[in-house]
């Protein structure tokens, strides 16, 4: 049985008003347990709207969402429970911190789950260690933390519910290179340790190509492609057409190709590019 499944999912904002917008248009996708998925799309492509359906925050205008085979909108209790199983961390989550201490803020989710005090403690400490928030920081006010720490504390607040699926909407937005790398590594470690399903929403292929296994490309509310990273890269020319960025390394390969060099263009890491270019140089007898 698939973990998450959407069936002809459509969502219309402000239906019936002059501002009516179709945000999602007939999306049918299946996500299996343990997958690492990237969702990319330009602003307004529906990627954030889609993930808010996966944990029941938004209710489809038409179509269905299933979690482990159950319709998540079957009744209120089911919808409520699915939020603990599908943890969704919004964009700029640090702007949602509110408790007196970092500890209490991370504990907000576990408390709402109705756990015992000991369990809450266990969940909070585990989540804090995943995101690299030291014990001393837990007693501090979340507003005393640095920007990067706030972001990680906020992510911990979602991880602390021990969700089966972790969804992160633009987790690295606005951070400096060091902060970005730190979050990327943290997500990878978390996945390895928990073997949970992880979904990352992003604007650009560059951010996710190296890490995820499968990519869902959203365009104007439609699922344009949903395939393995390599397969998406084999159709890389399509991305700029729908307003998306191509990784720098891929752009170089595309440029070489357009200059008449027979190189692969489904390449996105320095390592792959190096091998491909060395191969070309050797083949032509330059090296």
């Amino acid at each position: 049985m698939s973990l998450i499944k959407t069936e002809n999912l459509s969502y219309v904002y402000s239906q019936g008003s002059p501002f009516q917008v179709t945000a999602l248009d007939n999306i049918s996708i299946t996500i299996e347990k343990g997958e690492f998925i990237g969702i990319i799309g330009h602003t307004g492509s529906g990627k954030s709207t889609l993930v808010q359906h996966l944990n029941g925050i938004l209710k489809p205008t038409s179509g269905k969402v299933f979690f482990e085979g159950t319709d998540i909108f079957k009744d209120r209790q089911t919808t409520k429970n699915v939020r603990f199983k599908v943890g969704l961390c919004f964009q700029y989550p640090e702007y949602q911190l509110f408790e007196n201490t970092v500890y209490d803020d991370i504990a907000f989710g576990p408390k709402n789950m109705g756990l015992s005090k000991d369990e809450i403690d266990e969940y909070v400490l585990e989540a804090a260690s995943f995101v690299g928030i030291k014990k001393e920081l837990l007693k501090k006010s979340p507003f005393e933390l640095s920007g990067g720490e706030k972001r990680r504390a906020a992510i911990a607040g979602v991880i602390a519910m021990k969700p089966e699926v972790l969804i992160l909407d633009e987790p690295t937005a606005g951070l400096d290179p060091k902060g970005r790398k730190r979050i990327e590594r943290m997500i990878a470690d978390y996945r390895q340790a928990t073997e949970s399903t992880v979904i990352i929403v992003s604007h650009s292929m560059e951010d996710i190509a190296r890490t995820v296994g499968k990519v869902l490309v959203m365009n104007h509310g439609k699922a344009e492609m949903f395939a393995g990273v390599d397969e998406v890269f084999s159709k890389i020319e399509r991305l700029p057409e729908i307003g998306l960025d191509v990784p720098s390394i891929t752009r170089i390969m595309l440029r070489l190709r357009s200059l008449g060099y027979d190189v692969r263009t489904d390449i996105y890491t320095v390592e792959q590019a190096k091998d491909e270019l060395l191969f070309l140089l050797k083949e032509r007898g330059v090296l």
């Binding site: 060091k178 902060g179 960025d245 440029r255 070489l256 270019l277």
Partner: protein, 290 residues
């Protein structure tokens, strides 16, 4: 020689004040010396909390140095009577476009600065139209800001500054909150202002691909200036940059990886087209197509 000096930071240090009795804050900016000349295009690089944003606010007397002085067009920013003139000379565009737009209609927001300057109505109209055209937002002049995209909002904010006809604009991480599309729009606008309108621009960023496009890169670390120079000079210290939490462009990693494998290619390559030019040159002239 010094005539074209526009903004000068002289041994500038700055400390955010704390409530009395509390522990003193560390210096946000420490002993900075920086000369900005008329017409330059400068990128300031640094990780979060390295003091970059404070520098922007020091440039037009929003903040006054704790020590040292900032001279704008031969006016000292600590001279309160000059603050009005100084802000006319040096404008600042901030990170979050939402928090710098005052009015609910694009053109009225752009008019806000000129209105404060007490200009006659016809002059305001002209400046508003010219500024909106310069940033490519003229056709949206009657739009409501909250219905625009991030990149468009940021361009409206830029128009609001250029309507005051400043000689220099500081951009404090103008693209940090934008999507790739918005980032491109805003960077294009910044370079256009520099090249076509001869406005001196200083932009703070932590995107390496943006930094390499400047004439001069200033790297901040620990509240001070760590190094500065042309992009080539600065990025030749790649390891040091990574050490302080920054990065180098991907293309530089690629050329280094090739060099390590015996390919005769420069390792200071910063731009994609520069790479493809140098790479294709390896094949000689005859060998292009087959």
């Amino acid at each position: 020689m010094n005539n074209d000096l526009l903004v000068q930071f002289k041994n500038v240090s700055f400390r955010y004040e704390n409530e009395e009795g509390e522990e003193q804050n560390p210096l946000a900016v420490k002993n900075v010396n920086l000369d900005i000349r008329q017409g330059e295009c400068i990128a300031i690089l640094g990780h979060n909390g390295s003091g970059k944003s404070t520098l922007a606010k020091l440039s037009n007397s929003i903040l006054i140095p704790t020590e040292g002085s900032v001279i704008v067009d031969s006016m000292d920013t600590s001279d309160e009577e000059k603050s009005y003139e100084i802000r006319k000379t040096v404008g600042v565009v901030f990170q979050n476009p939402d928090n710098q737009i005052v009015s609910s209609i694009v053109e009225e927001d752009v008019a806000f600065g000129p209105e404060n300057l007490g200009l006659p109505r016809e002059e305001i109209r002209k400046r508003v139209d010219d500024s909106l055209k310069a940033v490519g937002m003229y056709e949206h002049r009657l739009a409501e800001p909250h219905k625009l995209s991030g990149g468009q909002k940021q361009r409206v904010a830029i128009a609001g500054i250029i309507a005051m006809l400043p000689k220099c604009i500081f951009f404090d991480e103008p693209t940090a909150m934008l999507d790739p599309q918005g980032r491109k729009e805003v960077m294009k606008t910044i370079f256009k202002l520099n090249r076509e309108y001869n406005i001196t621009v200083v932009y703070i960023t932590h995107f390496m691909e943006e930094a390499v496009l400047a004439d001069r890169v200033v790297v901040m670390d620990n509240a001070g200036i760590l190094m500065q120079g042309t992009p080539k000079e600065v990025f030749s210290h790649g390891e040091r940059l990574v050490e302080i939490g920054l990065d180098v462009p991907q293309v530089m990693y690629l050329s280094k990886a090739l060099k390590q494998n015996g390919v005769n290619i420069d390792t200071d390559i910063l731009y994609e087209d520069e790479f493809t030019d140098k790479f294709t040159a390896l094949f000689g002239e005859k060998n292009v197509t087959d």
